[in-house]
Symmetry: C2
Subunit: 249 residues, 2 copies
């Protein structure tokens, strides 16, 4: 049995793990082959559902690319990157990304994801972004955020009456954006209805896998983690980064 087959047997238990597939052309053995090219623009466009990730200057790098890694090989969900005007943006660490769409040209999104980062500080007052979030949220199956992206969702009003979490280092600032949200100070991520919000940066990767579980099943989520040799922190309640008083602090 080849190594790929061994790993396949180990993680691909259950038929729904077929969700973790590069594209329609992949054979079983290729599904977990890290050398297989998994992106094919043609296939992405043809996929029946779209996961849209909002990009802006000074987004936090891993907020976006942890989820991209975990969502990037789903059988029927393609990835779409959206910026306000469709022009390139730069992450907090200087990564220059070219989006696929502007707010105007973006297709209806099945999953909307708003990352965090320094850029959110000014964007909580950005009418165009808030309108885009409201419009996409009307038709989305899932509306999600990583880190301080929750501040954008909160200011757009889509989290009103919902439980949510955010980056623990920026917790007070995010909480101050809306009194209508039930903010959770201790959670790796929070699911309330179709709203899934995660704590800071790398918590987004764990949230992304939790969403794979909701979209497909737990086996699919475990397979997505295993392909990336990722230790999934799969307990949303476990949050060592939660804000709490220090002894003698």
């Amino acid at each position: 049995m080849s190594i790929a087959e061994q790993l396949t047997r180990r993680v691909m238990i259950g038929g729904a793990a077929a969700a973790i597939v590069a594209g329609a052309k992949s054979a079983l053995a290729g599904r977990l082959d890290p050398l297989a090219s998994t992106h094919d623009q043609q296939v992405e466009v043809m996929k029946p559902k779209q996961i849209g990730i909002v990009l802006f200057d000074d987004f936090e790098t891993l907020d976006v690319f942890g989820p991209v890694q975990m969502w990037g090989r789903l059988a029927d969900h393609g990835l779409t990157f959206v910026s306000a005007d469709g022009r390139p943006v730069q992450s907090s660490h200087g990564v220059r990304i070219t989006p696929d769409h502007s707010f105007a040209s973006a297709p209806p999104l099945d999953v909307l994801m708003v990352p965090g980062g320094a850029g959110t500080r000014r964007l909580v007052d950005d009418a165009a972004l808030l309108a885009f979030v409201r419009r996409q949220d009307e038709g989305s199956s899932w509306t999600t955020s990583v880190c301080t992206g929750a501040a954008i969702l909160a200011r757009a009003g889509v989290l009103d009456g919902r439980a949510a979490t955010t980056n623990k280092l920026a917790f007070e600032w995010v909480r101050s954006q809306s009194d209508a949200v039930i903010w959770r100070s201790r959670a790796r991520w929070v699911v309330d209805g179709k709203y899934v919000t995660s704590s800071g940066v790398s918590a987004g990767t764990d949230m992304a896998l939790a969403l794979v579980e909701r979209l497909y099943d737990r086996t699919a989520a475990r397979a997505a983690a295993a392909v990336a040799e990722y230790h999934w922190n799969d307990d949303p309640e476990s949050d060592p980064f939660a804000v709490r008083p220090l002894k003698g602090g």
Copy 2:
């Protein structure tokens, strides 16, 4: 005491953690503020040392951006992205990145990092890339890889006689690239002299933190992880993804 100050006290024990700083302009309180913009092209260029990351079509997304997250706030190391001709490349998941340099224009790199991904399958025969790796390796303080990036280092010959590891799903293919490398089938990452190679995808994030420890100290590495709310898998020997015969497999 503010939340940021509490977290700062918790993780910033020891003066060398000052390494985790956005840039020269950062005040203490801003060091762990996820809302602070940490990238300033002027400051990056002025930083005395450069971490260069090689990009190519079909690089594996998280191979690059996990390390970018962990290396992106070092006090005196700037990040530089390099592609063969300096033109944009696309990751395996369709992320379109604009590099800073071509192989010809890249400055001498203190740290060289080669990621993995589907693109490495053809690049092990790419004379221009192998020559770039050899040239940069001559002057580097650290030469590193994530995932199947080790195949590139191996084919360039810079790992001859060195211990190294790589993605466990692609282990046999990478091993077949060079008999002169001492391949380790069970390791999250391997350090041999100035050569640091990691296992697949997310193992690169853990390797990146290990390098922060070598460049600065353990406190700095822990601080970089904490800012990203990242659970550092800090034991290079712990490798649940290692290739091994399955019971009855």
